[in-house]
């Protein structure tokens, strides 16, 4: 059957086909998993302590990296932006530049990427390890559904944490931009904040940024818990799963960002 095609090509075609069908199958499995997690979610809220604990581990413990990164990004934006704007005599627009860049794009996206690497991988590793040491199986044998008790709280913990982190990232970024722009470079504070207020609209800029961060939160949280739950119960399996979480989450964030940006900011000139 494969005789007509040179062996090498047939082999790679078969592998490609297998990979594609495998990925689509996995996507379907992940969707069913999402439905199952949502179905078991009420318990995560009835016993709110479980979810609060996960918000602590995913959100509070990410604060340091998010706030510091936010500040640095804002400061760099300010520096780079000033150089370019100065050439067109538009350096007073620096406030708008920093604010819009952060609120519309960089806040949700970078916070999402950092969250995926820090909290997402931790969640995957934790769940994977519980699977490997048979803790999840033990729970099932004790008639406690691990989806309700272990997975759902972590899922919702991520969904609640990331939008808040993204807003904090943007806020601290703007503050960093202010520090560099006004304090360091010497742009007029009034122009900085005034232009910013005039140029950044609540609808659509701030709200779209929030919507983006919520969508990213959904994607990262789902991927993190799914990869953990689905990991092979060995040390290698867990490490593969954590890598997959970071890689797939990052790609998902960037792809979703593109799609959403097209829909959200298409019609807005300035």
């Amino acid at each position: 059957m494969y005789a007509e095609v040179p062996g090498g090509v047939a082999y790679w075609l078969r592998r490609l086909g297998g990979a594609v069908t495998g990925s689509i199958g996995r996507l379907g499995y992940a969707s069913r998993f999402l439905l199952a997690v949502l179905w078991h979610s009420p318990q995560a809220f009835r016993r709110i302590q479980l979810t609060l604990r996960e918000i602590y581990f995913a959100g509070v413990l990410s604060l340091v990296i998010i706030l510091m990164s936010g500040m640095f990004v804002g400061m760099v934006l300010s520096l780079q932006g000033y150089e370019t704007l100065k050439r067109y005599g538009a350096d007073e627009q620096l406030g708008i530049l920093v604010a819009l860049a952060l609120v519309r794009e960089l806040g949700p996206v970078i916070a999402g990427l950092l969250f995926a690497s820090r909290a997402g991988s931790a969640i995957t590793a934790e769940i994977g390890l519980m699977k490997t040491t048979e803790q999840l199986a033990a729970m099932e044998m004790m008639a406690v559904d691990p989806l309700a008790r272990v997975i759902a709280p972590r899922f919702w913990g991520g969904i609640i944490s990331l939008p808040l982190l993204a807003a904090l990232f943007s806020a601290f970024g703007i503050f960093g931009g202010y520090l560099v722009g006004v304090r360091l470079i010497g742009i007029d504070a009034g122009a900085f904040w005034g232009q910013m207020q005039a140029g950044v609209d609540f609808w659509p800029d701030v709200t779209n940024g929030i919507v983006k961060s919520v969508v990213f939160a959904l994607a990262v949280s789902l991927i993190a818990v799914f990869e953990g739950y689905d990991s092979k119960p060995t040390a290698e399996g867990v490490s593969t799963a954590t890598t997959r979480t970071v890689v797939i989450s990052s790609l998902a964030i960037l792809a979703l960002d593109f799609v959403m940006t097209v829909f959200m900011f298409r019609g807005t000139g300035t």
């Binding site: 918000i55 944490s161 808040l164 807003a167 806020a171 703007i174 904040w193 950044v200 701030v206 019609g267």
Partner: protein
């Protein structure tokens, strides 16, 4: 980590997170400065709106009093029909002039309202009688060249 400590930290986290959102909405964005009231609608027709876009500001004496709500073309008269949403706390006279200006040479395009001396005020849904279209730089330049050419033509005669 005991429960009380976790609750405390989560509470702090959520509080500052919401605080950041409020900060972005109010200080960075302009959620409340647009005016709490929905505002009333005024219509203005222009021959050329230039670079005017949706949500561009409407200013009087340089102060923002509203936003451009919609822009469409009248298929019969080929005029641009611009709908303005103006803050209720400002009223304009019936002989107000609506003009399309650019702030600076490369700045944003906005609609300016110049009030006149009449006693009657514009109401919700009224049309502004006098309008001044946008200055299109290309036309300016070709006008200038044309004038220059005519001038040198006259000089030769």
């Amino acid at each position: 980590m005991n429960r009380a400590a976790i609750d405390l930290w989560v509470g702090i986290f959520v509080a500052i997170g919401l605080g950041a959102i409020v900060f972005l909405a109010l200080k960075v964005g302009n959620l409340l400065t647009i005016g709490a009231e929905p505002g009333y609608r005024l219509e203005a027709r222009f021959d050329n709106i230039g670079g005017l876009k949706l949500r561009a500001p409407v200013k009087a004496a340089g102060v923002v009093v509203g936003r451009v709500e919609s822009i469409r073309l009248d298929p019969k008269t080929y005029e641009a029909v611009v709908s303005l949403r103006v803050d209720r706390s400002f009223e304009f006279t019936k002989d107000t002039i609506a003009a399309i200006n650019t702030s600076g040479l490369l700045g944003e395009v906005y609609v300016s309202l110049d009030a006149g001396g009449e006693t009657v005020m514009l109401k919700d849904g009224d049309r502004i009688g006098k309008t001044q279209s946008a200055v299109v730089v290309e036309k300016l330049i070709s006008q200038f060249l044309f004038d220059k050419a005519a001038e040198s033509g006259n000089a030769k005669k």
